[in-house]
C-alpha cells in the first residue's frame, strides 16, 4: 500500500511518522467471541521501526485487537474476525496462510511471565528455534541465544547460569527472558500485552527502556493501561473505548492535544 494512504490513517500534521512504510496494515477489523463483538471496525497502520501503544480502559478490546495481529485470537473456540490484516503487504488471514507461520513472524509477550518451567534459561530462549529449523532455516543456536539475550538486556545477568532453571529468575528477569525468547525468532513485529502489569517499578523501568531500544530492530505494538508508560515508550498511540478505536495520533499529540473529547476525558482522568 502506498505510504500516503498510511499517513492518512495516521492523521494529519505528523512529520515524524511520515517516512517509515507500514509494517502492518489493519482494515475494517471486527473481532468476535461468539456473539460478543469485542473489536469494532478498527483500521490502523503500524509503521516500521516505531512503537505503537494501545491504551484504554479495561475490557475495551486492547488484548483482543492485539491477538488478531498474530492470529492468536482464533485459538479460542467460537472466536473469529472480519476484515483484513496485512503484514509486509501480505494478508495474514488470506486462505492458505498458515496461522502457525504468521506467529513465527509476529512475536508476542504476555501480561505475566510465561517462562517454560521445565526448561533452562538457554532452553527457554531457544524454545522456538526448533520450529525455525523445522522449516529449513539454518543458524547457530548459541549465537542466536546470546544475541536475543543481549537485545533483551538480560545477557549480563544470566550469562553465567544459562543452564539453570528459568524459574530461579525474578519476575522482571523472567519477563525479559520471554522477550528474548520472542526476539530469538527474529520477528518483524513484537506484540507486548501489558508486559509490566505484574512487575515492580524497577523491573518496569528496565522493560520500558528495553522497548524503546528495540524499535531499531523490530516493530513494536504495546498494550498498556498505564498512560505514562504509553507516553514514555511509544511513537504513536491508539485510544480504544468499548471495542472502537476512538483516536490514533502521534503520542505527543494524543496526550497534549487530543482530537476527540472522549480521549481527552480519558487522559485527564474524567472517566467511568
Amino acid at each position: 500500500m502506498p505510504v500516503s494512504d498510511a499517513n492518512a490513517l495516521l492523521g494529519a500534521g505528523d512529520t515524524a511518522l511520515a517516512s517509515p512504510a507500514p509494517r502492518m496494515e489493519v482494515r475494517g477489523l471486527d473481532a468476535f467471541f461468539g456473539k460478543v463483538h469485542a473489536v469494532k471496525d478498527v483500521s490502523m497502520a503500524i509503521p516500521e521501526h516505531r512503537v505503537t501503544a494501545i491504551i484504554g480502559p479495561s475490557g475495551c478490546g486492547k488484548s483482543t485487537f492485539l491477538r488478531t495481529l498474530n492470529r492468536m485470537h482464533e485459538t479460542i473456540p467460537t472466536a473469529y474476525i472480519r476484515g483484513t490484516v496485512h503484514l509486509d503487504g501480505e494478508d495474514i488471514y488470506a486462505p492458505g496462510v498458515d496461522a502457525v507461520s504468521v506467529r513465527r513472524h509476529v512475536g508476542m509477550v504476555f501480561q505475566r511471565p510465561t517462562a517454560f518451567p521445565t526448561m533452562s534459561i538457554r532452553g527457554n530462549v531457544a524454545a522456538g528455534l526448533g520450529v525455525l529449523r523445522a522449516v529449513g532455516e539454518r543458524f547457530d543456536v548459541e549465537e542466536r541465544v546470546e544475541e536475543a539475550l543481549r537485545r533483551a538486556a538480560l545477557w549480563d545477568e544470566v550469562k553465567d547460569r544459562l543452564d539453570a532453571s528459568a524459574l530461579g529468575l525474578s519476575g522482571g528477569q523472567q519477563q525479559r527472558l520471554c522477550i528474548a525468547r520472542a526476539l530469538a525468532m527474529e520477528p518483524g513485529v513484537l506484540l507486548l500485552d501489558e508486559p509490566t502489569a505484574s512487575l515492580d517499578p524497577i523491573s518496569t523501568e528496565k522493560v520500558e527502556a528495553l522497548v524503546h531500544q528495540l524499535r531499531d530492530g523490530v516493530t513494536v505494538v504495546i498494550v498498556t493501561h498505564n498512560m505514562e508508560q504509553a507516553a514514555r515508550v511509544s511513537d504513536q498511540t491508539a485510544f480504544f473505548l468499548h471495542g472502537e478505536m476512538v483516536e490514533l495520533s502521534p503520542t505527543s499529540d494524543l496526550f497534549t492535544r487530543p482530537r476527540d473529547s472522549r480521549t481527552e476525558a480519558y487522559i485527564t482522568g474524567r472517566f467511568g
Binding site: 502457525v100 505475566r112 517454560f116 524454545a127 532453571s165 524459574l167 520471554c178 520472542a182
Partner: protein, 288 residues
C-alpha cells in the same frame, strides 16, 4: 439467662464434637489394621523361608527340598515391563487427548469407557487377552499376560494424565502457540514435560496395582517352572507362583508361598514409595 443457655449449648456441642472426633479416630485406626495385620503376618511367616536361594534358584520339584523363585521374580518384572510398554503410551496419549479435547463426543465416550475399564474385574481382562492372543497363537505366553495387565494400566494412566495435563497453566500453552508451535508440538514439548511428575505418579500407581494381579495371568502367562525371558513363551510370575504353591499339599511349598508374598508386597511398597517421591518432586517444582 441467655448466657447460661449458650454455655449449656456450647458444652453439648463440645461433647458431640469430641465424640464424633473419637469415632473418626477409631475408623482411621481400623482402616490401617488390615494392612498392619497382613504386614505383620507376612513378616512372621515369610522371613523364615526367605533366603538367598529364593532369589537365585529355580523351583525344585516337591520331592527335593529348597529351590527358589528366581524365574518368577524375573518373570514378574518382564510381564510388568511388557505391560508398561503397551499400556503407558496408550494411556498417556489418550489422557492428552481427553485434556485437550475436553467436550468432544469422542472424549466423553473415551472417558466413560476408561471409567468402566477401571471397574472391570481383572479376570475379565485375562479372558480378553486369552481371546486376543492365546487363542490365535495356540499357546500361553508372556505377551498375553503383558497385554492383560497393560490394558488394566490404561484407565489409571489415562485419567491421571488428563488431570495433570489440565492443571498445566493455559498461559504456558498460549506462549508456545505464540512462538509458532503447532498444537501437537505444544502438547508434546511444553505441556507433557510440565505435567510429567504427576503422570509418572499415575504410572507408578498403575504399576503397583497390576504387579500383584493373579487372575489375569492364570490363562495368559500361565506360569513356568523354568527360565524364560521370551515374550512368546509361557512365563513364571510371583503371584502365580504364590497361588500354585499355596494350593499345593507340601509344607515346603507353603513356606515358599509366604516368602513370595513378602517379596511381592515389598515390590509394591517400593513402587508406591517411588510414586510418592515423584509426586513430591512435582509439587516442589510447581511451588518454586
Amino acid at each position: 439467662m441467655s448466657t447460661g443457655l449458650s454455655a449449656r449449648t456450647s458444652l453439648r456441642r463440645r461433647f458431640v464434637n469430641g465424640f464424633m472426633l473419637s469415632l473418626t479416630w477409631i475408623a482411621a485406626v481400623l482402616a490401617t489394621l488390615p494392612l498392619l495385620f497382613v504386614l505383620f503376618y507376612l513378616l512372621e511367616k515369610g522371613v523364615t523361608s526367605l533366603n538367598w536361594a529364593f532369589f537365585t534358584h529355580l523351583p525344585h520339584p516337591p520331592s527335593m527340598p529348597g529351590g527358589g523363585a528366581a524365574n518368577a521374580i524375573v518373570g514378574t518384572l518382564v510381564i510388568v515391563a511388557g505391560a508398561s510398554v503397551l499400556g503407558v503410551p496408550v494411556g498417556i496419549g489418550a489422557g492428552i487427548y481427553l485434556a485437550e479435547r475436553k467436550g468432544a463426543p469422542l472424549a466423553v465416550f473415551v472417558r466413560f469407557l476408561a471409567d468402566v475399564l477401571n471397574g472391570l474385574p481383572s479376570i475379565v481382562m485375562g479372558i480378553f487377552a486369552w481371546e486376543l492372543v492365546v487363542v490365535p497363537m495356540g499357546h500361553f505366553s508372556a505377551l498375553a499376560g503383558a497385554l492383560a495387565l497393560g490394558a488394566m494400566m490404561i484407565p489409571t494412566v489415562t485419567r491421571t494424565t488428563e488431570e495433570m495435563v489440565r492443571v498445566v497453566p493455559s498461559p504456558l500453552r498460549e506462549a508456545a502457540l505464540a512462538l509458532g508451535y503447532t498444537q501437537w508440538r505444544t502438547s508434546l514439548r511444553i505441556v507433557l514435560p510440565t505435567a510429567l511428575a504427576g503422570i509418572l505418579t499415575g504410572v507408578l500407581v498403575a504399576l503397583a496395582r497390576i504387579a500383584g494381579e493373579t487372575a489375569p495371568l492364570l490363562f495368559t502367562a500361565f506360569g513356568n517352572d523354568f527360565w524364560s525371558l521370551s515374550m512368546n513363551q509361557p512365563i513364571a510370575a510371583l503371584p502365580l507362583q504364590i497361588f500354585n504353591y499355596a494350593i499345593s499339599p507340601y509344607d515346603d511349598w507353603h513356606a515358599q508361598a509366604w516368602a513370595g508374598a513378602l517379596v511381592l508386597i515389598a515390590l509394591v511398597l517400593v513402587i508406591s514409595l517411588l510414586a510418592r517421591a515423584a509426586t513430591r518432586s512435582g509439587f516442589a517444582r510447581a511451588s518454586e
